[in-house]
């Protein structure tokens, strides 16, 4: 997605109690505003101009366990409080993931789906991929191996639903 038509907001939150850095980078694309600009080369022109679309990129920390899952869910809820969010979960840094971390992913999925959005994974570490495979979560969440997936965000809101339902067996096999 072109930076010309996007407003970038990055939040670096430090957990005071646990001292775990949480980097939530939220990229908000105001497609409606972009569509008002003439001769703009960005892909947002193709998005239905009536509804604004937001892409939220979430980089999860090295540990997503019972220790920090609750605070991460709280932060995620704040980030996902937009209509039709296109959520990209980046698990490339994740080394430790337990059932509370999986709850976080499910919560994220739930929040996104209730807002008529979509959620996808990009940049997944072998450790996270193993846990997702073991628990069958890879079937629920679509995995995107490419780190530059935000460049190929779906063009219409209708595509989001279809992509959410795509299983990730081919991604893991690759």
């Amino acid at each position: 997605m072109s930076t010309q038509c996007s407003r970038f907001a990055s939040l670096n939150i430090m957990e005071p109690a646990l001292n775990i850095p949480v980097n939530l980078a939220a990229v908000e694309v105001s497609a409606w505003e972009a569509s008002q600009e003439e001769n703009s080369p960005c892909v947002a022109h193709l998005i239905a101009p009536a509804k604004p679309t937001s892409t939220v990129i979430v980089n999860l920390p090295e540990k997503v366990t019972a220790q920090n899952a609750r605070s991460l869910i709280r932060d995620l809820r704040t980030q996902l409080n937009v209509d039709q969010p296109y959520v990209l979960l980046d698990l490339s840094d994740v080394k430790e993931l337990d059932s509370s971390g999986l709850d976080l992913l499910l919560e994220c999925l739930h929040e996104t789906v209730t807002r008529d959005g979509t959620i996808r994974l990009r940049g997944i570490s072998p450790e996270a991929a193993t846990v997702l495979e073991l628990t069958g979560m890879d079937q629920i969440l679509g995995l995107i191996p490419s780190p530059h997936v935000e460049d190929s965000a779906p063009e219409t809101p209708r595509d989001y639903v279809a992509e959410t339902l795509v299983t990730s067996s081919r991604s893991l096999a690759a």
């Binding site: 072998p126 193993t130 073991l134």
Partner: protein, 327 residues
């Protein structure tokens, strides 16, 4: 023929299946570290236990087991002093042959043929070679070793130039990686390796250990091994040469596919294990060559034996009582 054996084993020695007739000593050298692959249960019994049993069945009288340090480059003096003492102890008896075995690889050696070769060639030292090279399995002329002077380590070094090679073409597995271990289990279950599972063959290629309990809805597709006191809960699927070792518990709806579950392991509900080895909280993913440690007992953990469970039950039972007093 009077034969003795000295077995060195990497890591702390955990012998689980001592028999009443056993006449071997475990020399403690203080070696620590996780138990090596040769000590992992393999269809009910470790490679170390099986090696000792085979030596005893052959009539090897003196057997000493010495734990090796976990990090070989820094072998401490305690190991060598224990080794020297073990050799001296063996040579007190009038041995004809002394076997020195490093229990790492699994080798289906024809021991009588090997000893016959060693005797016929009249060599001071005979070492076993497989197609991949030398194995840490040596027969030594014990009388010659006793006659020499100096430390036993030095005497052994002096015999090396005279050593003969015994070429072995049978089944061997180096057991150097977790994938090797998994391959050995698979080979044993399909009959390539001659390892007898500890349990009863209840149907073709399905072995069940003592008091193993399977739910009616569990699906077992042979070849499969389920060890003593295991519990397989409702809706589980066990298949593809999987082995569930003793006192393990597989919770509802979990699929165990081409995997080994080592003793005392709890596997949570609804999981899909494929190409893995799980030892309590630790999971080895063979495809990714990855070791993961879980601190989450909903996924993986350890089961408790009755003895270990008792204090937990007591503390749980005591908790409400304490609460009521406080109120």
């Amino acid at each position: 023929m009077h034969v003795g054996a000295i077995l060195t084993v990497p890591g702390r020695v955990q012998l689980q299946h001592r028999t009443a007739q056993a006449s071997f000593n475990v020399v403690d050298t203080g070696a620590l570290g996780i138990s090596p692959l040769a000590q992992w249960d393999l269809l009910g019994k470790s490679v170390l236990d099986r090696t000792i049993e085979r030596l005893q069945a052959f009539g090897v009288g003196e057997i000493a087991v010495i734990p090796e340090p976990a990090n070989p480059p820094q072998i401490p003096n305690t190991f060598w002093s224990a080794w020297e003492a073990a050799v001296a102890n063996c040579l007190k008896v009038d041995l004809e042959t002394l076997l020195i075995i490093r229990v790492g690889p699994y080798v289906e050696l024809d021991l009588p043929d090997f000893l016959r070769f060693h005797r016929d060639t009249s060599s001071a030292m005979t070492q076993v070679y497989d197609p991949r090279g030398a194995l840490d399995l040596v027969a030594i002329n014990a009388r010659r070793l006793a006659r020499e002077e100096g430390s036993f380590r030095g005497r052994l070094r002096n015999l090396i130039p005279e050593h003969q090679r015994y070429h072995f073409t049978g089944y061997s597995n180096r057991l150097s990686t977790t994938s090797d271990f998994r391959r050995l289990v698979r080979d044993a279950l399909v009959g390539i390796a001659h390892i007898r599972p500890i349990g009863k063959e209840v149907s073709a290629n399905v072995w069940l250990g003592k008091d193993a309990r399977l739910d009616r809805s569990a699906v077992i597709l042979p070849p499969v091994y389920i060890g003593n006191y295991c519990r397989i809960n409702a809706g589980c699927v066990i298949r593809e040469s999987s082995a569930i070792e003793q006192q393990s518990l597989i919770d509802c709806g979990t699929t165990v596919d081409d995997s080994c579950i080592l003793p005392g392991t709890y596997i949570g509900a609804g999981l899909r294990l494929c190409g893995t080895i799980v030892h309590q909280e630790t999971l080895f993913h063979l495809g990714r060559n990855l070791e993961l440690r879980f601190n989450d007992h909903k996924l993986f953990g350890r089961t408790f034996s009755g003895k270990a469970l008792l204090p937990r039950i007591r503390s749980t039972a005591a908790a409400p009582y304490t609460q009521s007093i406080m109120q």
